[in-house]
Subunit: 108 residues, 2 copies
Amino acid sequence: MNLENTKAQMRKGVLEFCILSLLSNKEAYASDLIQAMKESKLLVVEGTIYPLLTRLKNDGLLSYRWEESTGGPPRKYFKATPLGEKFLEELRITWDELVEAVGKATSP
Amino acid sequence: MNLENTKAQMRKGVLEFCILSLLSNKEAYASDLIQAMKESKLLVVEGTIYPLLTRLKNDGLLSYRWEESTGGPPRKYFKATPLGEKFLEELRITWDELVEAVGKATSP
DNA sequence: TTTTAGTACTATGCAATACAAAGTACCATA
DNA sequence: TATGGTACTTTGTATTGCATAGTACTAAAA
């Protein structure tokens, strides 16, 4: 039982929410997202974000298009689908409810 | 990809925080905890809480004592150990940081 | 030309945890 | 004696964050 593990556990489901929010009405590829998350003090690594993007795409919440890059391999630019936008709204409510519930349960 | 699964995922690590907080300087057994969580809109079931309590006990964060019950089998009353109290403070910080980070990443 | 470094993505496997389901054991009452 | 409710244990599953290794593309250094 260590804090690092608990931190990883607490991110479960939450990263999905953050990624979907960042891709709401805005395109970005993996490195953009990692950077944006980093600025919010959420350190996400490649081994986490690529499978996550693939999963959200397979579930119809994200779509993507290839874009050539000048200095490297092509990039996958993702954005939320209409279904993704709808799911995002539900996630927002879910997250707010959780924060409120945890606040109640843990207030001294 | 459904909301119920995501809700379950978002609870990972969080329930540990809540339980530890509820058992800070206060004794309770499983049914007490389920009830207290319920009042905070956190529905936890037996299959979740019993393994969780066992895990926290094995990690030295909780201790327990048996108490006879008038109408049923004996109960395990848990409470946080000094190590548990210390870990709880770290969890509090971790959770607050996560809430702030998610707030930043998902603010429209 | 060949090699090296950096970027972007894929694929595989592990560990941890919430949850479900079935089972054991105790007590009181019908 | 049988039934119902309470309390806890055990086993198994699904999901997900993360680590690691690998592929492929470009550009610059050797």
